[in-house]
């Protein structure tokens, strides 16, 4: 019997007859598959029989936290996902937003935390590879990569090795792909010592009429496997990614995948070439849970069944079982459903790019996923049940108690503002990230108009004058102290960063990194952050179109601080009219927009002075953010301001120092107002603030405009010389500040 016939043979039989051989069930086997006792009972009820080994594997990955979102789904449903700009919200491989003129941005962020801790180079590299596949599987050419990184404390034994490996891995993959890595963020905090976070974001561009989805609609269509061959990579990776670490994890040495960016680059070009024809009905990358989740999702969305013959799967290793092939997480692979008859032309493209191309099955009207291997039926499951039956938990949670407000009186004062500034700017939190982004090719594709180092990166929409701005942000210490305020702050900081370059913020993606959700206080953090994010998105008309959840970032019961990383994108209509934080001209007047109470709780200044973060984080007023940001954008569009920077970590003086360093120009600053302690004024982390500079002749008009709009605005100094001179404090040469700012990471990581 030919392989094709083996599949067709089903036709004559009733589906029920194709029952695979049951596996011998033990408690240990169930536990190994990450299933609870209750979940296994649930599985038995659904199936009405004992599963085969392959079926048990399929259920275990489909029900893993990573694929099923069983702890988070209930709360995720409350997030705002709509807007006139949204073409596709959460639920597909990535979110899609309309940029006008027939162009769409397709973007998503994803975590690769656990693998990156175990094998930093390959873990981070394959994270980048995975997120790019999510984007180009929808028809987009990736045009910008970003990465949000959290490491342990700088002098922790492993930190250097981890930073070096992660950054090199991101660089190796992104650079080879020829996609610029233009931004991100990097934090150091002891609470990530044993659980680093590596979140990779990718933004791509596609024609709005050429977006590809994963719904495999239609019966009798060929199911096609393309890309790399399948090996025994990362089997159980998805359940692994949902497991907590313990001291033995280092010893267990789970399989980590090795990335092959060269093959992915070929896969990208081959897929985009095929997408130029009308051959593709549905396409989905094989990410976590590989062939299992891609086939189930495609079949489920299309309302069809899939019959596959695993003998036809291109294999890298000998003697692979059905279980292994269904669960393999080998990288650089895609599953497609094609129009019948288009296979030869499609194959020719993949041949040209030296990639495997194999028809491994077809869509059916049975509604079942039937997996054949070596003449046996190894799995026979109802697709809809598999897709929808995953448990959904409303886990108990306790909300984080509100912390008290900190004032300058609670913190030992500094007697030297300038010295404090130097310490902040040359420490782990605020020092230059050049050592990192210099390892990333951030200019390839020839469209990078704002490179890393500013508020948001900007790449030109190829062949147009439009600019696509992108950024990632979250302040985990705020989220820890007050999940709700922290969740809001993460969203508004991305919104401010986009605004500060003159972009209209469009939408966000996210990567929700938390500890163990079965602990009520962790679940409370999760719920709180999501409520904050949701409120912020609603207030700013800034919906969430894609995202990812990473739970169990915890070792020996110690969880990471809640880290909902937000990735935002925005649009600049004409890149001739954008803003940057670089001081432009001596004599430009420096204006602070927004109100300063001097909120020092959870501030970097507080940590510097006391050794720790405490109290309530700065409060976020969403309507104020909207009002101030919209005004700043109007000023940029009207070309009335010469430089713009939002005020965030470290406060006002840090923002000004950033602008000075970026330009080499200094500033003369007025003393803090009398009604506020100087350190609270300079280092408070109050939100909804921007520093702008305006040419002297525009000053009065701009101040009047702000006043009329009832937006607090104060002239605080002037761009001048090459020193930072604060009334009543020591002056500081920008060259000296720059040297200290640039020295920290190279010294740490050498």
């Amino acid at each position: 019997m030919s392989e094709k016939e083996i599949m067709n043979n089903e036709g004559g039989m009733s589906q029920k007859d194709l029952i695979p051989e049951p596996v011998e069930i033990t408690d240990a086997l169930i536990a190994e598959h990450g299933l609870s006792g209750d979940e296994y009972v649930h599985l038995l009820e659904i199936l009405g029989r004992v599963p085969s080994s392959t079926e048990l594997g399929i259920f275990s990955v489909m029900w893993s936290e990573h694929c099923s979102y069983k702890s988070s789904r209930f709360h995720l449903k409350k997030l705002p996902v709509d807007g006139p700009q949204v073409i596709q919200g959460p639920g597909e491989n990535a979110g899609v937003v309309d940029l006008g003129d027939g162009v769409a941005a397709i973007f998503k962020m994803e975590s690769h935390n656990h693998p990156s801790y175990i094998e930093p180079f390959q873990g981070a590299a394959t994270g980048v590879g995975g997120i790019m596949r999510d984007v180009f599987t929808m028809g987009a050419r990736p045009v910008a990569n970003l990465n949000a990184l959290r490491f342990g404390e700088p002098d922790h034994a492993k930190t250097r090795h981890l930073v070096n490996g992660v950054v090199a891995g991101i660089a190796a993959y992104g650079n080879c792909m020829g996609v610029p890595t233009v931004g991100g963020e990097t934090n150091f905090d002891k609470r990530y010592n044993q659980n680093i976070l590596v979140n990779a974001m990718c933004v791509g561009l596609a024609d709005t009429d050429k977006i590809f989805y994963s719904a495999a609609k239609g019966v009798g269509l060929p199911v096609v496997y393309v890309g790399s061959k399948t090996g025994r990579d990362g089997i159980h990776g998805a359940t692994m990614a949902s497991a907590e670490f313990d001291d033995e994890t280092d010893e267990k040495r789970p399989t980590v995948q090795v990335g092959d960016p060269f093959t992915e680059k070929l896969l990208l070009e081959a897929c985009l070439e095929l997408m130029n024809s009308d051959a593709i009905i549905a396409i989905q990358d094989m990410g976590a849970a590989g062939l299992t989740s891609s086939s189930v999702e495609m079949a489920d969305k299309g309302g069809v069944g899939f019959t596959m013959n695993l003998d036809l799967v291109p294999q890298r290793e000998d003697g692979m079982t059905a279980y292994e092939m269904m669960l393999s997480e080998s990288q650089e692979r895609m599953l497609m459903v094609l129009k019948p008859g288009s296979e030869p032309a499609a194959k020719a493209i993949f041949d040209k790019w030296d990639l495997d191309f194999a028809v491994i099955g077809e869509t059916t009207d049975t509604g079942r996923l039937i997996v054949h291997h070596k003449g046996e039926v190894e799995a026979n499951l109802e697709v809809a049940t598999l897709a929808d039956s995953a448990p959904e938990y409303q886990r108990p949670y306790t909300k984080t108690a509100k912390a008290e407000t900190i004032t300058a009186d609670d913190i030992p004062p500094t007697n030297n503002i300038t010295e404090t500034l130097i310490k902040l700017m040359s420490g782990p939190h605020l020092s230059s990230r050049r050592w990192i982004y210099q390892q990333y090719d951030h200019m390839v594709m020839g469209d990078t108009v704002q490179r890393p180092g500013g508020d948001a990166a900007v790449v030109r929409v190829h062949g147009t004058n439009k600019g696509l701005a992108s950024t990632t942000d979250v302040t985990p210490r705020y989220c820890y102290a007050d999940p709700y305020e922290g969740g809001k702050q993460a969203v508004v900081e991305t919104w401010r960063n986009l605004t500060a370059v003159g972009a209209t913020p469009l939408a966000i993606t996210n990567c929700l990194n938390f500890g163990n959700p079965t602990r009520p206080e962790i679940m409370g953090q999760f719920v709180g952050c999501l409520e904050g994010m949701g409120d912020a998105c609603r207030a700013l008309s800034y919906p969430i179109v894609s995202g990812n959840v990473s739970l169990y970032n915890e070792t020996n019961g110690v969880g990471i601080p809640p880290t909902p990383a937000i990735g935002g994108i925005g649009l600049i209509d004409d890149i001739a009219i954008q803003a940057s934080l670089v001081f432009k001209t001596e004599g430009d007047v420096i204006i602070l927009i927004g109100d300063t109470q001097g909120q020092l709780g959870q501030s970097l200044y507080q940590e510097l002075q006391t050794g720790d973060f405490a109290g309530a984080p700065p409060s976020v007023d969403l309507s104020t953010e909207l009002k101030h940001g919209d005004m700043v954008r109007r000023l940029i569009t009207a070309q009335k301001v010469s430089a713009v920077h939002d005020v965030s970590d470290g406060g006002l003086l840090v923002a000004i120092a950033d602008m000075a360093i970026a330009s080499g120009l200094g500033a003369e600053l007025r003393a803090a107002p009398d009604d506020i302690a100087a350190e609270a004024y300079w280092f408070g982390e109050d939100q909804a603030r921007y520093v702008v500079t305006v040419p002297a002749e525009n000053k009065d008009a701009v101040l009047t405009e702000l006043q009329t709009a009832q937006i607090p605005a104060n002239e605080i100094g002037v761009v001048s010389g090459s020193d930072l001179i604060i009334e009543g404090a020591d002056s500081l040469a920008i060259t000296q500040l720059t040297e200290r700012f640039e020295a920290y990471l190279p010294n740490l990581l050498a």
């Binding site: 960016p261 060269f262 680059k265 210099q438």
Partner: protein, 229 residues
């Protein structure tokens, strides 16, 4: 100017160079797949930057053995000008069209940033529009740009005036402090003896307009356009 751009699997600056060539010369280059065996007749052959064959084994090594390279080599030997940028430079040394080798950067890391270069001579088809002794800004983006040649080969290159560009400070001073990758004698690019083949690590095609952060690369392409006018 008629130009051809050779495209290898995982070349990734092929589009960038095509954009630059078209912007400056007014005509689109022919894109030539590595599996072809002949390059259409052109004034200029360009080997673009990227990660041909993933930079596996050695950067440029596998590309240098591609079918198309036989014709590139024979056309180059017959006098057709060839420009290799970044990975293209690596391909040119691996294929023997230029002397020396490009090793891992001194600091092992990939490095992407703007650098300053001294244009060593302005009497070649690639540099005729630059001023004599001009210092220009081009970006580098490479992992293996550390130029090496044995002492006698290096002496010969220097004696023949084959050095095209040297890493320098903004003021044109050549010192180790401005050497981004450990290249011998701060060499950023070299010619063949006939001055018809140029390989360089920095990317002139990346700085061709103010919005991209500079336009010092334009004159290289204008030089070529003028040479073939």
């Amino acid at each position: 100017m008629r130009s051809s751009v050779i495209v290898f699997p995982a070349s990734n600056c092929d589009r960038d160079i095509a954009v630059a060539l078209e912007q400056i010369s007014g005509s689109k280059p022919d894109m030539v797949w590595h599996g072809e065996t002949s390059v259409p007749s052109s004034d200029l052959i360009v080997i673009p930057g990227g990660f041909s064959f993933g930079d596996y084994l050695r950067s440029g090594a596998m590309a240098a053995q591609s079918p198309i390279m036989k014709d590139v080599i024979s056309k180059a030997k017959a006098g057709t000008p060839v420009l290799g940028i970044c990975n293209g430079f690596q391909v040119l040394v691996e294929s023997g069209l230029l002397p020396g080798a490009l090793m891992r950067n001194r600091d092992i890391k990939f490095i992407c940033k703007d650098v300053f270069l001294n244009v060593e001579r302005n009497d070649t088809i690639f540099t005729r529009k630059y001023a004599a002794g001009e210092t220009v800004k081009y970006p580098v983006a490479h992992h293996d740009g550390n130029y090496f040649a044995s002492p006698d080969v290096l002496a010969e290159i220097e004696d023949n005036g084959q050095v095209a560009f040297r890493y320098a400070s903004e003021d044109g001073e050549v010192s180790e402090a401005d050497n981004p990758n450990g290249s011998l004698n701060n060499i950023a690019g070299i010619y063949n003896k006939e001055l018809s083949v140029l390989g360089l690590m920095p990317h002139p095609e990346r700085l061709i307009s103010a919005e991209l952060g500079g336009s010092d690369g334009v004159l290289m392409f204008e030089s070529l356009v003028e040479a073939f006018a």
